[in-house]
Amino acid sequence: MQALNLQGTEQTPSIRFNTKKSVLEISGKSIPEDAMAYYKPVMEWISEYRKEVNTSITLVIKFDYFDTPTAKVLFDILTALEKIEGSSVLWMYAESDQDMEESGLDFAELVNIPFKFKPY
């Protein structure tokens, strides 16, 4: 199983999988030029993980901000995670960022995965 470790930039988030804790973390800013292309390795990794390992994952989301193409890809990632039993989401948001909290609540309504919310 290949490691997943994408370095973030000023416009793209860092994406890392911690094998010991089974935590997939996506954090930073997300306004990539091509969201589908940037997140394609993540979708492929989840697909491979489901075939080879298939134990539950905690997806940690910690965006500063994200654009609407990222929202579409994030929905696709969450939909893929629904198929890995026991997976959950930890949605982190800056304490004063009510919009980011609300975005998480909206995603939680769309998918069948437990969400926890944590301000920082």
Partner: protein, 184 residues
């Protein structure tokens, strides 16, 4: 074919940022960086800064994806335009760009539909788009207008100016109150 729906701003606005020019991905990032710096100097709530930045980001991406510009020789198109204004009550994001005249009816209908939707209906439309739509050939997700309407809580103000059977000018404005009235 002129369609005009303009709102009224009660006080004379101050321009805090404007840009007319090409909008490649790189240009958009530079403009966003400048806007980020300017917003830090504004004495407004953090949540309002966040909304204003978000709307700016989505409008700029629309300009990047959907503007037509045929160069200096083409008299009927002009470089896209983006501006942020402020008066006592509102920040207003303004954009203007040239689009194909044949796309005006669909765009206008979309704007009318979104303007008529309440918060719950907007969320419903976003959900439907996420479930059913794929990415456009230009890398968009068909969510920008919906999400701007939801985050800002404001209606779009827009106008189309017919320039030829080929191209029209599209002007777009969205206002965000300077002060939030959220209770939580």
């Amino acid at each position: 074919m002129d369609v005009n729906y303009e709102g009224i701003i009660p006080t004379e606005p101050e321009v805090i940022f404007n840009y007319r020019g090409h909008f490649t991905y790189g240009d958009t990032l530079l403009v966003l960086k400048k806007i980020d710096q300017i917003l830090l100097t504004q004495r407004c709530e953090w949540s309002i800064q966040g909304k204003l930045f978000y709307v700016s980001m989505e409008v700029l991406q629309n300009l990047q994806r959907h503007s037509l510009y045929f160069g200096e020789d083409e008299l009927l198109t002009q470089k896209p335009f983006f501006e942020i204004r402020k008066n006592f009550y509102h920040y207003t994001v303004v954009s203007e760009n040239t689009i194909y005249t044949k796309s005006v009816p669909n765009l206008q209908q979309r704007l009318i539909t979104i303007n008529a939707a309440d918060r719950s209906e907007l969320k419903g439309q976003i959900k439907k788009t996420l479930l059913n739509d794929t990415f456009t050939e230009k890398g968009g997700a068909n969510l920008g207008l919906l999400c701007m309407a939801l985050k800002s809580g404001s209606t779009f103000i827009y106008s189309f100016k017919f320039m030829s059977s080929k191209v029209s000018s599209f002007r777009f404005k969205l206002s965000i109150p300077v002060y939030s009235n959220r209770k939580f």
